[in-house]
Protein backbone atom coordinates (compact mmCIF):
# COMPACT_ATOMS: atom_id res chain seq x y z
CA UNK A 1 0.00 0.00 0.00
CA UNK A 2 2.90 2.34 0.81
CA UNK A 3 4.21 1.79 -2.68
CA UNK A 4 0.87 2.56 -4.33
CA UNK A 5 0.12 5.64 -2.25
CA UNK A 6 3.59 7.06 -2.87
CA UNK A 7 3.12 6.34 -6.56
CA UNK A 8 -0.18 8.22 -6.65
CA UNK A 9 1.29 11.07 -4.61
CA UNK A 10 4.26 11.31 -6.95
CA UNK A 11 1.85 11.20 -9.90
CA UNK A 12 -0.28 14.03 -8.54
CA UNK A 13 2.87 16.05 -7.89
CA UNK A 14 4.14 15.39 -11.39
CA UNK A 15 0.81 16.48 -12.84
CA UNK A 16 1.24 19.76 -11.00
CA UNK A 17 4.13 20.58 -13.29
CA UNK A 18 1.51 21.28 -15.94
CA UNK A 19 -0.25 23.68 -13.63
CA UNK A 20 3.06 25.41 -13.03
CA UNK A 21 3.53 25.78 -16.75
CA UNK A 22 0.19 27.65 -16.81
CA UNK A 23 1.36 29.89 -13.97
CA UNK A 24 4.46 30.71 -16.00
CA UNK A 25 2.64 31.22 -19.29
CA UNK A 26 -0.43 33.16 -18.16
CA UNK A 27 -1.40 35.09 -20.21
CA UNK A 28 -3.87 36.64 -17.81
CA UNK A 29 -3.30 37.05 -14.11
CA UNK A 30 -6.43 34.93 -13.65
CA UNK A 31 -4.72 32.06 -15.51
CA UNK A 32 -1.76 32.22 -13.20
CA UNK A 33 -3.99 32.21 -10.15
CA UNK A 34 -5.91 29.22 -11.53
CA UNK A 35 -2.66 27.33 -11.87
CA UNK A 36 -1.83 28.17 -8.28
CA UNK A 37 -5.27 27.03 -7.23
CA UNK A 38 -4.72 23.65 -8.88
CA UNK A 39 -1.37 23.31 -7.11
CA UNK A 40 -3.18 24.08 -3.85
CA UNK A 41 -5.74 21.35 -4.43
CA UNK A 42 -2.97 19.01 -5.54
CA UNK A 43 -1.01 19.76 -2.40
CA UNK A 44 -4.06 18.94 -0.29
CA UNK A 45 -4.43 15.68 -2.21
CA UNK A 46 -0.79 14.75 -1.68
CA UNK A 47 -1.08 15.45 2.04
CA UNK A 48 -4.14 13.20 2.20
CA UNK A 49 -2.18 10.45 0.45
CA UNK A 50 0.72 10.89 2.87
CA UNK A 51 -1.54 10.51 5.91
CA UNK A 52 -1.68 6.68 5.91
CA UNK A 53 2.06 6.52 5.12
CA UNK A 54 3.44 8.42 8.05
CA UNK A 55 1.25 10.29 10.43
CA UNK A 56 -2.40 11.16 10.22
CA UNK A 57 -1.46 14.60 11.50
CA UNK A 58 -0.76 15.41 7.84
CA UNK A 59 -4.54 15.86 7.56
CA UNK A 60 -4.33 18.86 9.88
CA UNK A 61 -1.84 20.38 7.48
CA UNK A 62 -4.18 19.64 4.58
CA UNK A 63 -7.00 21.36 6.44
CA UNK A 64 -4.92 24.47 7.03
CA UNK A 65 -3.72 24.45 3.44
CA UNK A 66 -7.28 24.29 2.10
CA UNK A 67 -8.36 27.13 4.36
CA UNK A 68 -5.42 29.35 3.54
CA UNK A 69 -5.71 28.70 -0.19
CA UNK A 70 -9.15 30.28 0.02
CA UNK A 71 -7.63 33.31 1.73
CA UNK A 72 -4.99 33.58 -0.99
CA UNK A 73 -7.73 33.55 -3.64
CA UNK A 74 -9.57 36.40 -1.94
CA UNK A 75 -6.27 38.25 -1.70
CA UNK A 76 -5.74 37.71 -5.41
CA UNK A 77 -9.14 39.08 -6.38
CA UNK A 78 -8.55 42.11 -4.17
CA UNK A 79 -5.07 42.73 -5.54
CA UNK A 80 -6.27 42.75 -9.13
CA UNK A 81 -9.13 45.18 -8.49
CA UNK A 82 -8.47 48.76 -9.64
CA UNK A 83 -7.89 50.29 -6.21
CA UNK A 84 -6.54 47.18 -4.49
CA UNK A 85 -9.58 46.94 -2.21
CA UNK A 86 -12.55 46.22 -4.47
CA UNK A 87 -14.76 43.37 -5.63
CA UNK A 88 -15.11 42.32 -9.29
CA UNK A 89 -18.89 42.00 -8.84
CA UNK A 90 -19.43 45.64 -8.01
CA UNK A 91 -21.29 47.20 -10.89
CA UNK A 92 -20.80 50.88 -10.38
CA UNK A 93 -17.47 52.52 -11.04
CA UNK A 94 -15.27 51.48 -8.14
CA UNK A 95 -14.53 54.47 -5.98
CA UNK A 96 -11.16 55.93 -6.76
CA UNK A 97 -8.68 56.09 -3.96
CA UNK A 98 -9.75 58.51 -1.30
CA UNK A 99 -6.24 59.08 -0.02
CA UNK A 100 -4.43 62.10 -1.31
CA UNK A 101 -0.71 62.74 -1.76
CA UNK B 1 21.79 9.49 -1.91
CA UNK B 2 19.16 9.49 0.79
CA UNK B 3 16.00 11.54 0.85
CA UNK B 4 17.43 13.71 3.63
CA UNK B 5 20.39 14.61 1.47
CA UNK B 6 17.95 15.54 -1.25
CA UNK B 7 16.14 17.99 1.02
CA UNK B 8 19.38 19.40 2.42
CA UNK B 9 20.78 20.04 -1.05
CA UNK B 10 17.46 21.58 -2.12
CA UNK B 11 17.74 23.83 0.91
CA UNK B 12 21.31 24.80 0.00
CA UNK B 13 20.24 25.59 -3.57
CA UNK B 14 17.32 27.68 -2.31
CA UNK B 15 19.70 29.66 -0.12
CA UNK B 16 21.86 30.44 -3.14
CA UNK B 17 18.85 31.38 -5.27
CA UNK B 18 17.46 33.59 -2.54
CA UNK B 19 20.79 35.31 -2.01
CA UNK B 20 21.06 35.95 -5.74
CA UNK B 21 17.57 37.45 -5.83
CA UNK B 22 18.16 39.56 -2.75
CA UNK B 23 21.27 41.11 -4.27
CA UNK B 24 20.43 41.19 -7.96
CA UNK B 25 16.75 42.16 -8.05
CA UNK B 26 15.80 45.81 -8.46
CA UNK B 27 12.10 45.70 -7.65
CA UNK B 28 11.90 45.78 -3.86
CA UNK B 29 8.98 43.37 -3.65
CA UNK B 30 11.08 40.85 -5.57
CA UNK B 31 13.87 41.38 -3.09
CA UNK B 32 11.54 40.74 -0.16
CA UNK B 33 10.27 37.59 -1.88
CA UNK B 34 13.88 36.48 -2.39
CA UNK B 35 14.55 37.06 1.30
CA UNK B 36 11.71 34.68 2.12
CA UNK B 37 13.09 32.04 -0.25
CA UNK B 38 16.50 32.36 1.35
CA UNK B 39 15.03 31.98 4.81
CA UNK B 40 12.91 29.00 3.92
CA UNK B 41 15.82 27.25 2.21
CA UNK B 42 17.82 27.74 5.37
CA UNK B 43 15.04 26.24 7.45
CA UNK B 44 14.84 23.26 5.10
CA UNK B 45 18.58 22.67 5.50
CA UNK B 46 18.34 22.89 9.29
CA UNK B 47 15.26 20.68 9.32
CA UNK B 48 16.99 18.03 7.21
CA UNK B 49 20.00 18.14 9.54
CA UNK B 50 17.68 17.75 12.52
CA UNK B 51 15.94 14.76 10.96
CA UNK B 52 19.18 12.75 10.83
CA UNK B 53 19.86 10.08 13.42
CA UNK B 54 17.08 8.40 15.30
CA UNK B 55 13.85 10.33 15.00
CA UNK B 56 13.37 14.03 14.27
CA UNK B 57 14.91 16.38 16.83
CA UNK B 58 12.23 18.79 18.10
CA UNK B 59 14.68 21.61 18.91
CA UNK B 60 15.36 22.63 15.28
CA UNK B 61 11.62 22.42 14.61
CA UNK B 62 10.96 24.94 17.38
CA UNK B 63 13.78 27.17 16.10
CA UNK B 64 12.33 27.02 12.60
CA UNK B 65 8.84 27.96 13.76
CA UNK B 66 10.33 30.95 15.57
CA UNK B 67 12.29 31.81 12.45
CA UNK B 68 9.21 31.60 10.20
CA UNK B 69 7.29 34.01 12.41
CA UNK B 70 10.23 36.41 12.61
CA UNK B 71 10.56 36.31 8.81
CA UNK B 72 6.89 37.20 8.39
CA UNK B 73 7.22 40.13 10.82
CA UNK B 74 10.25 41.43 8.97
CA UNK B 75 8.54 40.98 5.59
CA UNK B 76 5.48 42.88 6.75
CA UNK B 77 7.59 45.83 7.92
CA UNK B 78 9.62 45.75 4.69
CA UNK B 79 6.44 45.71 2.59
CA UNK B 80 5.13 48.64 4.60
CA UNK B 81 8.32 50.59 3.90
CA UNK B 82 8.07 49.72 0.22
CA UNK B 83 4.46 50.91 -0.10
CA UNK B 84 5.08 54.08 1.89
CA UNK B 85 8.17 54.81 -0.19
CA UNK B 86 6.31 54.18 -3.45
CA UNK B 87 3.57 56.56 -2.37
CA UNK B 88 6.10 59.36 -2.01
CA UNK B 89 8.34 58.54 -4.96
CA UNK B 90 6.08 56.62 -7.37
CA UNK B 91 8.76 53.91 -7.62
CA UNK B 92 9.21 50.46 -6.16
CA UNK B 93 13.00 50.55 -6.30
CA UNK B 94 15.69 52.18 -4.21
CA UNK B 95 16.30 55.76 -5.34
CA UNK B 96 19.88 55.12 -6.47
CA UNK B 97 18.77 52.13 -8.55
CA UNK B 98 15.97 53.84 -10.43
CA UNK B 99 16.13 53.40 -14.18
Amino acid sequence: MTLWLSFVAAGVLASLAGALWRVWRGPRRADRMMGAQLVGTGGVAVLMLLAPLGSWAALDVALVLALLAALAAVGFVKATSPDGAGDPEEEEETPRRKADG
Amino acid sequence: MTALTLYALTGAALIGLGLYGLIAARHLLRRIVAFNLLGSGLFLYLGAAGARGDGPDPVPQALIITGIVVALSASALAVGLLVAGARLSGRATLPEEAE
Binding site: F7, A17, L20, W24, G26, R29, R32, A36, G54, A57, L65, L71, A72, G75, A79, S81, D83, G84, G86, E90, E91, R97, K98, D100 | Y7, A8, L9, A12, A13, G16, L17, G18, L19, Y20, V33, N36, L37, S40, G41, F43, G47, G50, G53, D57, P58, V59, Q61, A62, L63, I65, T66, V69, L72, A76, V79, L81, V83, A86, R87, E99
Partner: protein, 309 residues
Protein backbone atom coordinates in the same frame (compact mmCIF):
# COMPACT_ATOMS: atom_id res chain seq x y z
CA UNK C 1 9.00 4.83 -4.58
CA UNK C 2 9.03 7.22 -1.63
CA UNK C 3 12.41 8.40 -2.91
CA UNK C 4 10.87 9.16 -6.29
CA UNK C 5 8.16 11.09 -4.48
CA UNK C 6 10.78 13.12 -2.61
CA UNK C 7 12.76 13.67 -5.77
CA UNK C 8 9.71 14.94 -7.67
CA UNK C 9 8.82 17.21 -4.78
CA UNK C 10 12.33 18.66 -4.49
CA UNK C 11 12.51 19.20 -8.25
CA UNK C 12 9.19 21.08 -8.15
CA UNK C 13 10.33 23.17 -5.19
CA UNK C 14 13.54 24.14 -6.95
CA UNK C 15 11.83 24.85 -10.23
CA UNK C 16 9.23 27.03 -8.57
CA UNK C 17 11.90 28.90 -6.61
CA UNK C 18 13.87 29.54 -9.78
CA UNK C 19 10.70 30.77 -11.51
CA UNK C 20 10.09 33.11 -8.57
CA UNK C 21 13.50 34.72 -8.96
CA UNK C 22 13.72 34.70 -12.74
CA UNK C 23 11.40 36.03 -15.38
CA UNK C 24 9.49 39.23 -15.83
CA UNK C 25 6.50 40.44 -13.88
CA UNK C 26 6.09 40.93 -10.16
CA UNK C 27 2.66 39.33 -10.10
CA UNK C 28 3.99 36.09 -11.54
CA UNK C 29 6.78 36.05 -8.95
CA UNK C 30 4.21 36.40 -6.17
CA UNK C 31 2.02 33.60 -7.50
CA UNK C 32 5.05 31.35 -7.77
CA UNK C 33 5.98 32.23 -4.21
CA UNK C 34 2.53 31.17 -2.98
CA UNK C 35 2.90 27.88 -4.87
CA UNK C 36 6.35 27.50 -3.36
CA UNK C 37 4.94 27.77 0.16
CA UNK C 38 2.36 25.06 -0.61
CA UNK C 39 5.02 22.66 -1.85
CA UNK C 40 7.42 23.34 1.02
CA UNK C 41 4.63 22.57 3.48
CA UNK C 42 4.32 19.14 1.86
CA UNK C 43 8.10 18.81 2.16
CA UNK C 44 7.95 19.43 5.91
CA UNK C 45 5.43 16.62 6.30
CA UNK C 46 7.85 14.35 4.42
CA UNK C 47 10.59 15.38 6.87
CA UNK C 48 8.36 14.37 9.78
CA UNK C 49 8.05 17.95 11.03
CA UNK C 50 4.27 18.38 11.11
CA UNK C 51 4.45 21.38 13.46
CA UNK C 52 6.66 23.18 10.97
CA UNK C 53 4.45 22.07 8.08
CA UNK C 54 1.46 23.67 9.80
CA UNK C 55 3.38 26.90 10.35
CA UNK C 56 4.64 26.91 6.75
CA UNK C 57 1.18 26.19 5.32
CA UNK C 58 -0.41 28.93 7.38
CA UNK C 59 2.35 31.54 7.21
CA UNK C 60 4.53 30.74 4.21
CA UNK C 61 1.81 29.87 1.74
CA UNK C 62 -1.01 31.80 3.35
CA UNK C 63 -0.30 35.04 5.16
CA UNK C 64 2.97 35.91 3.44
CA UNK C 65 1.38 35.31 0.07
CA UNK C 66 -1.58 37.54 0.92
CA UNK C 67 0.82 40.14 2.27
CA UNK C 68 2.62 40.22 -1.09
CA UNK C 69 -0.62 40.24 -3.06
CA UNK C 70 -1.86 43.15 -0.99
CA UNK C 71 1.44 44.94 -1.56
CA UNK C 72 1.03 44.38 -5.30
CA UNK C 73 -2.44 45.88 -5.16
CA UNK C 74 -1.23 48.85 -3.19
CA UNK C 75 1.69 49.46 -5.54
CA UNK C 76 -0.71 49.50 -8.47
CA UNK C 77 -2.73 52.08 -6.59
CA UNK C 78 0.37 54.23 -6.19
CA UNK C 79 1.15 53.91 -9.89
CA UNK C 80 4.20 51.71 -9.22
CA UNK C 81 2.80 48.40 -10.39
CA UNK C 82 5.33 47.65 -13.11
CA UNK C 83 8.38 45.45 -12.74
CA UNK C 84 11.88 46.84 -12.62
CA UNK C 85 14.00 44.68 -14.91
CA UNK C 86 17.25 43.61 -13.34
CA UNK C 87 20.26 42.76 -15.48
CA UNK C 88 22.09 39.52 -14.72
CA UNK C 89 24.37 40.19 -11.80
CA UNK C 90 27.63 38.25 -11.86
CA UNK C 91 28.87 38.98 -8.31
CA UNK C 92 25.45 38.03 -6.94
CA UNK C 93 25.48 34.82 -8.95
CA UNK C 94 28.92 33.99 -7.61
CA UNK C 95 27.86 34.74 -4.03
CA UNK C 96 24.77 32.56 -4.39
CA UNK C 97 26.62 29.73 -6.05
CA UNK C 98 29.42 29.96 -3.51
CA UNK C 99 27.08 29.71 -0.53
CA UNK C 100 25.19 26.83 -2.14
CA UNK C 101 28.36 24.88 -2.86
CA UNK C 102 29.77 25.58 0.59
CA UNK C 103 26.62 24.37 2.31
CA UNK C 104 26.41 21.38 0.00
CA UNK C 105 29.95 20.44 0.94
CA UNK C 106 29.19 21.07 4.63
CA UNK C 107 26.35 18.56 4.48
CA UNK C 108 28.80 15.82 3.59
CA UNK C 109 31.20 16.94 6.31
CA UNK C 110 28.67 17.35 9.11
CA UNK C 111 29.23 15.00 12.04
CA UNK C 112 26.17 13.51 13.74
CA UNK C 113 26.46 15.04 17.20
CA UNK C 114 24.93 14.17 20.57
CA UNK C 115 21.76 16.17 20.64
CA UNK C 116 19.73 17.24 23.66
CA UNK C 117 17.47 14.23 23.08
CA UNK C 118 18.08 12.42 26.39
CA UNK C 119 17.73 15.60 28.47
CA UNK C 120 14.59 16.39 26.51
CA UNK C 121 13.07 12.97 27.08
CA UNK C 122 13.80 13.31 30.77
CA UNK C 123 12.38 16.83 31.04
CA UNK C 124 9.31 16.36 28.84
CA UNK C 125 7.08 14.83 31.57
CA UNK C 126 7.77 17.87 33.75
CA UNK C 127 7.15 20.42 31.00
CA UNK C 128 3.35 20.38 31.22
CA UNK C 129 2.75 19.33 27.59
CA UNK C 130 3.27 16.18 25.55
CA UNK C 131 4.15 17.66 22.17
CA UNK C 132 7.95 18.07 22.37
CA UNK C 133 7.96 20.99 19.92
CA UNK C 134 5.47 22.90 22.05
CA UNK C 135 7.54 22.03 25.13
CA UNK C 136 10.65 23.50 23.51
CA UNK C 137 8.81 26.61 22.32
CA UNK C 138 6.89 27.44 25.47
CA UNK C 139 8.99 25.96 28.22
CA UNK C 140 12.59 24.94 27.48
CA UNK C 141 13.26 27.88 25.18
CA UNK C 142 10.50 30.15 26.45
CA UNK C 143 12.76 33.22 26.41
CA UNK C 144 13.12 32.94 22.63
CA UNK C 145 9.38 32.74 22.23
CA UNK C 146 8.71 35.63 24.59
CA UNK C 147 11.17 37.82 22.66
CA UNK C 148 9.64 36.64 19.40
CA UNK C 149 6.17 37.72 20.49
CA UNK C 150 7.67 41.16 21.08
CA UNK C 151 9.33 41.04 17.65
CA UNK C 152 5.83 40.83 16.18
CA UNK C 153 4.80 43.86 18.19
CA UNK C 154 7.92 45.78 17.15
CA UNK C 155 7.15 45.08 13.50
CA UNK C 156 3.59 46.31 13.95
CA UNK C 157 4.65 49.46 15.80
CA UNK C 158 7.20 50.16 13.07
CA UNK C 159 4.60 49.52 10.39
CA UNK C 160 2.16 51.91 12.02
CA UNK C 161 4.87 54.58 12.00
CA UNK C 162 4.54 54.51 8.21
CA UNK C 163 1.02 55.89 8.41
CA UNK C 164 0.55 59.31 6.86
CA UNK C 165 -0.11 61.78 9.65
CA UNK C 166 -3.41 62.66 7.97
CA UNK C 167 -4.56 59.04 8.23
CA UNK C 168 -3.53 58.49 11.86
CA UNK C 169 -6.57 57.38 13.80
CA UNK C 170 -8.22 55.90 10.73
CA UNK C 171 -9.32 52.29 10.20
CA UNK C 172 -6.48 49.82 9.65
CA UNK C 173 -5.73 48.87 6.06
CA UNK C 174 -7.31 49.95 2.81
CA UNK C 175 -10.98 50.91 2.91
CA UNK C 176 -12.51 47.66 1.57
CA UNK C 177 -15.69 47.64 -0.47
CA UNK C 178 -17.67 44.68 -1.83
CA UNK C 179 -21.05 44.09 -3.43
CA UNK C 180 -23.23 43.36 -0.39
CA UNK C 181 -25.16 40.45 -1.97
CA UNK C 182 -22.22 39.20 -4.02
CA UNK C 183 -20.20 35.99 -3.93
CA UNK C 184 -17.34 37.53 -2.01
CA UNK C 185 -19.54 38.92 0.73
CA UNK C 186 -21.22 35.53 1.06
CA UNK C 187 -17.86 33.84 1.27
CA UNK C 188 -16.88 36.30 4.01
CA UNK C 189 -19.87 35.15 6.03
CA UNK C 190 -19.48 31.40 5.51
CA UNK C 191 -15.76 30.83 5.84
CA UNK C 192 -14.92 32.64 9.11
CA UNK C 193 -17.00 30.43 11.45
CA UNK C 194 -15.42 27.36 9.91
CA UNK C 195 -11.95 28.83 10.12
CA UNK C 196 -12.52 29.94 13.70
CA UNK C 197 -13.22 26.34 14.57
CA UNK C 198 -10.04 25.15 12.86
CA UNK C 199 -7.92 27.81 14.57
CA UNK C 200 -9.26 27.06 18.03
CA UNK C 201 -8.81 23.35 17.37
CA UNK C 202 -5.15 23.86 16.46
CA UNK C 203 -4.45 25.91 19.58
CA UNK C 204 -6.23 23.34 21.71
CA UNK C 205 -4.45 20.23 20.40
CA UNK C 206 -1.03 21.94 20.45
CA UNK C 207 -0.25 20.60 23.92
CA UNK C 208 -0.30 16.94 22.88
CA UNK C 209 -0.08 16.88 19.09
CA UNK C 210 1.26 19.06 16.31
CA UNK C 211 -0.30 22.51 16.50
CA UNK C 212 -0.15 25.32 19.00
CA UNK C 213 -0.32 29.05 19.54
CA UNK C 214 1.58 30.07 16.42
CA UNK C 215 -0.17 27.79 13.97
CA UNK C 216 -3.61 28.34 15.51
CA UNK C 217 -3.04 32.07 15.88
CA UNK C 218 -2.08 32.31 12.22
CA UNK C 219 -5.25 30.51 11.14
CA UNK C 220 -7.27 32.87 13.33
CA UNK C 221 -5.50 35.80 11.70
CA UNK C 222 -6.42 34.39 8.31
CA UNK C 223 -10.06 34.19 9.41
CA UNK C 224 -9.99 37.82 10.46
CA UNK C 225 -8.40 38.76 7.15
CA UNK C 226 -11.02 36.96 5.07
CA UNK C 227 -13.74 38.64 7.09
CA UNK C 228 -12.13 42.04 6.67
CA UNK C 229 -11.34 41.70 2.96
CA UNK C 230 -14.81 40.40 2.21
CA UNK C 231 -16.37 43.30 4.06
CA UNK C 232 -17.96 41.15 6.77
CA UNK C 233 -16.24 43.13 9.53
CA UNK C 234 -14.64 46.53 9.54
CA UNK C 235 -11.10 46.66 10.93
CA UNK C 236 -10.75 48.76 14.09
CA UNK C 237 -9.27 52.24 14.23
CA UNK C 238 -5.55 52.39 14.80
CA UNK C 239 -5.76 53.73 18.34
CA UNK C 240 -8.66 51.61 19.58
CA UNK C 241 -7.89 50.75 23.21
CA UNK C 242 -9.50 47.32 23.33
CA UNK C 243 -7.49 46.13 20.34
CA UNK C 244 -4.28 47.47 21.74
CA UNK C 245 -4.97 45.40 24.84
CA UNK C 246 -5.37 42.35 22.59
CA UNK C 247 -1.98 43.10 21.02
CA UNK C 248 -0.12 43.00 24.31
CA UNK C 249 -2.15 40.29 26.09
CA UNK C 250 0.02 37.38 24.91
CA UNK C 251 3.45 38.79 25.70
CA UNK C 252 2.07 40.22 28.95
CA UNK C 253 0.64 36.93 30.22
CA UNK C 254 3.87 35.20 29.20
CA UNK C 255 5.96 37.82 31.00
CA UNK C 256 3.82 37.72 34.13
CA UNK C 257 3.93 33.93 34.25
CA UNK C 258 7.71 34.10 33.98
CA UNK C 259 7.93 36.72 36.71
CA UNK C 260 5.60 34.74 38.93
CA UNK C 261 8.12 31.93 38.79
CA UNK C 262 10.85 34.35 39.82
CA UNK C 263 8.72 35.85 42.61
CA UNK C 264 7.92 32.39 44.00
CA UNK C 265 11.62 31.64 44.13
CA UNK C 266 11.57 29.06 41.34
CA UNK C 267 13.37 31.34 38.88
CA UNK C 268 12.42 33.43 35.87
CA UNK C 269 10.30 31.51 33.35
CA UNK C 270 10.35 28.44 35.61
CA UNK C 271 7.03 26.65 35.86
CA UNK C 272 6.66 24.11 38.67
CA UNK C 273 5.65 20.76 37.09
CA UNK C 274 2.35 20.61 39.05
CA UNK C 275 1.00 23.78 37.44
CA UNK C 276 3.03 23.81 34.22
CA UNK C 277 0.20 22.29 32.17
CA UNK C 278 -2.37 24.87 33.23
CA UNK C 279 0.09 27.75 32.98
CA UNK C 280 1.19 26.77 29.48
CA UNK C 281 -2.42 26.47 28.39
CA UNK C 282 -3.15 29.99 29.63
CA UNK C 283 -0.03 31.29 27.90
CA UNK C 284 -0.99 29.51 24.67
CA UNK C 285 -4.47 30.97 24.62
CA UNK C 286 -3.31 34.52 25.30
CA UNK C 287 -0.43 34.18 22.87
CA UNK C 288 -2.66 32.80 20.11
CA UNK C 289 -5.05 35.72 20.53
CA UNK C 290 -2.25 38.29 20.36
CA UNK C 291 -0.56 36.55 17.44
CA UNK C 292 -3.87 36.45 15.55
CA UNK C 293 -4.56 40.15 16.04
CA UNK C 294 -0.97 41.24 15.39
CA UNK C 295 -0.57 39.17 12.23
CA UNK C 296 -3.91 40.30 10.84
CA UNK C 297 -2.98 43.94 11.45
CA UNK C 298 0.47 43.39 9.93
CA UNK C 299 -1.05 42.05 6.72
CA UNK C 300 -3.77 44.69 6.53
CA UNK C 301 -1.15 47.43 6.76
CA UNK C 302 -1.38 50.98 8.04
CA UNK C 303 -4.60 53.03 7.61
CA UNK C 304 -5.14 54.73 4.27
CA UNK C 305 -8.29 56.84 4.54
CA UNK C 306 -7.75 60.49 5.33
CA UNK C 307 -9.22 61.59 8.63
CA UNK C 308 -10.65 65.06 8.77
CA UNK C 309 -10.22 66.40 12.22
Amino acid sequence: MTFVLDAVLCALILGVAAATIAGHGVFRAIVFFIVYGLLVAVGWVRLGAVDVALAEAAIGAGLTGVLFLAAYGRLGREGAGGDAPAPAHLPAAMAGLGVTCALGWAWSALPLPDRPGPQLAEALPMSGVENPVTAVLLNFRAWDTLLESVVLLAALTGLWMLTRDAAWGGRIGLPQHVRPDGVMAGFGRVLPPLGLLVGVYLVYIGADRPGGAFQGGTVLAAVGLVAALAGAVRPPRIGATRWRAALVAGPLVFLLAGLAGAALGAGFLTLPPQIAGAALFAIEVALAASIAVTLAFLVLGPPEETITR
